[in-house]
Subunit: 229 residues, 2 copies
């Protein structure tokens, strides 16, 4: 029987790459996306295209209300920072950090995994480019895995069953793009921008766009996505 | 400055008791409830009454879609077991177990706590009457706390800040009721039943009702709640 993996899929560059990676490792794919009041809901449209392209068995989009709590530029009426260099992004927790977001996302992934009897969850966290996000650190992921193995029916029967895979955690953006291209990812359909325009076109100047564009640049490539002109 | 606590409040007997307990410990109360497609949505009405009675600072009801995954009698079209004795409930994970429910609830509580700068989360889990639920065990709660302290901004600044309080974890139902009565809880307005009728009246024969009624009986008391006749 083929193994099943739950993959957290935003439709962005990182999560699309891990979907391709999980597929290359022989998993049947169960993709999980969220509508959480994010400004950049175009990424959900991207996630549907990506899920279809990779032939996922099931793609669930769960609506959750993170706006109830506020506290982030991605969900509240706080301005998304623009035009910052990579240097300027360093050493602080960005305003685009959503409180406990990865913890909430992983918890839904855990429920999905338990219901469909999967022992593997993939998440595209990255400790290099997102060093300011507490819930992207390896020690956080390790602690989550320990907790998750105690949280579920599966854990009662065998407490070392569940693995949280973070294949991108130590990679630079250019290395992630390289991995994805080798795995056949079409980055033209992925959506990265924190603040796209009404047509869904990325701004090119938010932190997320800046990191993405720099990644392609380092590979001597042009980002195939269409940007606002 | 007074301390703030996030209290997971279903409106049932256990969570109402911990709300009273947290108040007695001098915390300002931030209650958090969920509408998660549960059959027993009358408990949300109960949670509002309870929150008002205890003068909470804020009561958020977050809508989340656990039905997306199914897998439990509380959210899917599976029959709620009725008429079982306590003995018959032992030694198995009940069909009323909702996959990863406490993990999901605690994750939202963590987001709420991070936004309102609270270091204390209260959850009414119980390892005695709910011994079959993996996410009610002390080792699970301990692992959750370790993870939570790595998950947030607060955790980056001080990794031993957050405490998950489980004041009921080792108590029998009758001991919980005794605690609540000493703290002035009016159990008439709490809602416990997994499968109430259209008026919200409890059935008296599901596992949850059976444990509650037995708790009052052991104290030589009559449950003040109105049941289906």
């Amino acid at each position: 029987m083929r193994k099943k993996a739950v993959v957290l899929l935003s439709g962005g560059l990182d999560s699309t790459t891990i979907l391709a990676y999980a597929k290359s490792q022989g998993f049947d794919l169960y993709a999980l996306s969220f509508f959480y009041g994010q400004r950049h809901k175009f990424e959900l449209e991207a996630s549907k295209k990506v899920a279809q392209q990779f032939g996922v068995v099931d793609h669930k989009i769960v609506k959750i209300d993170l706006r109830a709590f506020g506290g982030s530029a991605l969900t509240a009426e706080i301005e998304v920072p623009k035009g910052r260099t990579e240097k300027e992004m360093e050493g602080e927790i960005p305003i685009t950090y959503v409180p406990a977001r990865n913890t909430i996302f992983l918890s839904f992934a855990l429920a999905f995994a338990e219901v469909n009897k999967s022992n593997d969850i993939f998440i595209g966290v990255n400790a290099v480019d997102y060093s300011g996000y507490p819930d992207c650190r390896p020690e956080y992921i390790a602690a989550y895995q320990t907790m998750a193995n105690l949280a579920t029916k599966t854990g009662v029967e065998d407490s070392n069953n569940l693995t949280i895979h973070t294949p991108l955690i130590d990679l630079k953006k250019s290395e992630i793009i390289k991995m994805g291209i080798d795995l056949g990812v079409d980055y033209a359909i992925t959506s990265t921008c924190y603040d796209p325009n009404k047509k869904g076109l990325p701004c090119g100047i938010c932190d997320s766009c800046v990191l993405r564009l720099k990644g392609f640049e380092e590979l001597g490539m042009k980002d195939p996505a269409e940007y606002q002109s």
